[in-house]
């Protein structure tokens, strides 16, 4: 597997406070990478650096051969209230392409199927549940056919049942679309279910203290959550997290 994105010796300060210290990271093609750590450890800052919303104080970020083809999913769905589902998802195409509107709409309808939101294209955001809003947000990210998907705690505001469902569907979708994903979360349960690899960040220093591959002998379905492998992974990550707090 070749690296899609490589971060080398990244340092980021906010005034005198060091948020990230010598972070090295590679994302491989088709990999689901979870960036795990307690609140305030610099995971979101690291994600913002990768997409160019922040600049590092030192170090460099390099993308592989093809152009930066990525999409970003925010913690909140960030849907525009005056646009219906179809128009919200169409937004990146309107901005980035010259495609005729019919063609754009066709693309939207096919993406809606991928996120299990058929026949919702005419609804407005205030008519959607939290889970549906997040699906629309993911569909909007997928509309421009990205190779890399950055997700900043997208399921943190969802209820337990919806969150578990969204995790299963996201994992299946990313496998099907062969997406490389960097997923920020502070839940070890979420990370252990979704990730191919977990990077655990230190609570204070903004350093990566664990780089752990996650593999299971079974499919990532609901049954996985009660398996011994899954439990063992969670225990291992939790123990390391406790260490970082100590």
């Amino acid at each position: 597997m070749s690296a899609v994105l490589v971060l080398h010796n990244i340092q980021k300060n906010f005034k005198d406070r060091v948020v990230l210290k010598s972070v090295n990271l590679s994302l491989y093609e088709g990999e689901f990478l979870c960036l795990l750590g307690p609140s305030g450890c610099g995971k979101s800052t690291l994600l913002r650096l990768m997409v160019g919303l922040e600049s590092p104080n030192s170090g460099n970020i390099s993308w592989s051969t093809h152009e930066k083809n990525f999409a970003f999913v925010f913690q909140e769905s960030q849907l525009l209230p005056w646009r219906n589902v179809l128009e919200n998802i169409r937004l990146p195409l309107e901005i980035q392409t010259e495609l005729p509107i019919e063609e754009q709409n066709q693309k939207v309808l096919s993406v809606l199927q991928k996120v299990n939101l058929k026949s919702s294209e005419n609804l407005f955001p205030h008519e959607l549940s939290g889970g549906m809003k997040m699906r629309v947000s993911i569909a909007r990210a997928l509309i421009s056919s990205p190779k890399v998907l950055f997700m900043d705690e997208p399921f943190s505001a969802l209820d337990e049942v919806t969150r578990l469902l969204m995790q299963r569907q996201l994992r299946a979708l990313c496998e099907k679309e062969k997406l490389s994903v960097i997923f920020v979360t502070h839940s070890s349960y979420e990370a252990a279910f979704l990730a191919d690899r977990i990077l655990l960040m230190n609570a204070k220093g903004g350093e990566i203290i664990l780089n752990e591959k996650i593999a299971y002998n079974q499919l990532r379905t609901e049954a996985l959550r009660s398996s011994a492998d899954y439990q063992a992974n969670i225990e291992k990550i939790s123990a390391k997290m406790q260490e970082s707090f100590a």
Partner: protein, 255 residues
């Protein structure tokens, strides 16, 4: 009976009570008629001089609404320019405060010198009084997009014009609407102030009635001005409700 649904019943009842109180008060001479005429005599004056009143009403309405439309167009354009250019904002916006702070009655004589007697001065007066709330509210609205929304557009590589058209202007809608509601009333005030010095419309009618001590005409004109204000605000609200049905702009201000 359908129209009854649209009437604000408590306000309507309050108005009827006040009218009844004044009618009784004047009838029993508890209230001096030379200060407050009986509502029935105001109504009689309105009916007897209906052609004068309707002509004046239309003239004031036309003057104030033309000034209002100019201030909406120019006010929004200025606010957009200020939101796009910090330089323009810093160099021009402080002077726009002039429109807010200088009393129109003080500059109305100047307007007569510049625009002459009649409609142009009335329009200019309505425009000067009503433009500032539109600039201020639109600018506030244009700057109310969240950081995450701006970043979303930044990630899509949107140009400043795309960002303005697809994000900032729709986000600004609730503020623009609030500005319009304030400005439409101010435009009527500005038009009346202009008519006091430039002639024509309900302003001139009030001024001439004042010199003749015809308080019934003054009250009749004031009633018509209130009606004009209500008509303008209702029209704005109807447009707003129509837009809200089409697009849920600013759900927090749905009426």
């Amino acid at each position: 009976m359908k129209f009854l649904k649209h009437i604000n019943l408590p306000a309507f009842i309050s108005l009827l009570i006040v009218i009844f109180f004044f009618e009784i008060g004047v009838y029993f001479s508890w209230i001096p008629e030379f200060l407050f005429p009986a509502p029935s005599s105001v109504l009689k004056t309105l009916v007897e001089n209906k052609s004068d009143f309707s002509e004046a009403f239309l003239e004031t309405f036309l003057g104030s609404m033309t000034g209002f439309v100019f201030s909406v167009i120019l006010g929004i354009c200025f606010a957009v320019l200020f939101s796009l250019s910090q330089f323009l904002r810093k160099s021009i916006l402080p002077f726009a405060v002039f429109f807010q702070t200088v009393p129109i009655i003080a500059i109305a004589p100047l307007l007569v010198i510049y625009f002459g007697f009649g409609m142009p001065t009335v329009i200019a007066s309505a425009f000067i009084v009503s433009i500032f709330p539109i600039i201020a509210n639109t600018l506030l609205g244009l700057e109310s997009s969240s950081k995450a929304e701006i970043e979303l557009f930044q990630l899509y590589g949107a140009s400043p014009i795309q960002c303005l058209w697809k994000l900032k202007l729709p986000t600004a809608y609730p503020s623009i609407y609030a500005g319009l509601k304030v400005s439409v009333g101010l435009a009527i005030i500005g038009a009346i102030a202009g008519e006091f010095v430039a002639g024509g419309g309900l302003g001139a009618l009030i001024d001439s009635a004042r010199t003749q001590q015809r308080i019934d005409i003054v009250f009749g004109a004031l009633g018509l001005l209130s009606l004009m204000g209500l008509l303008c605000l209702s029209s704005l609200r109807a447009c707003h409700n129509f837009l809200q049905k089409m697009r849920p702009y600013g759900l927090n201000i749905r009426e």
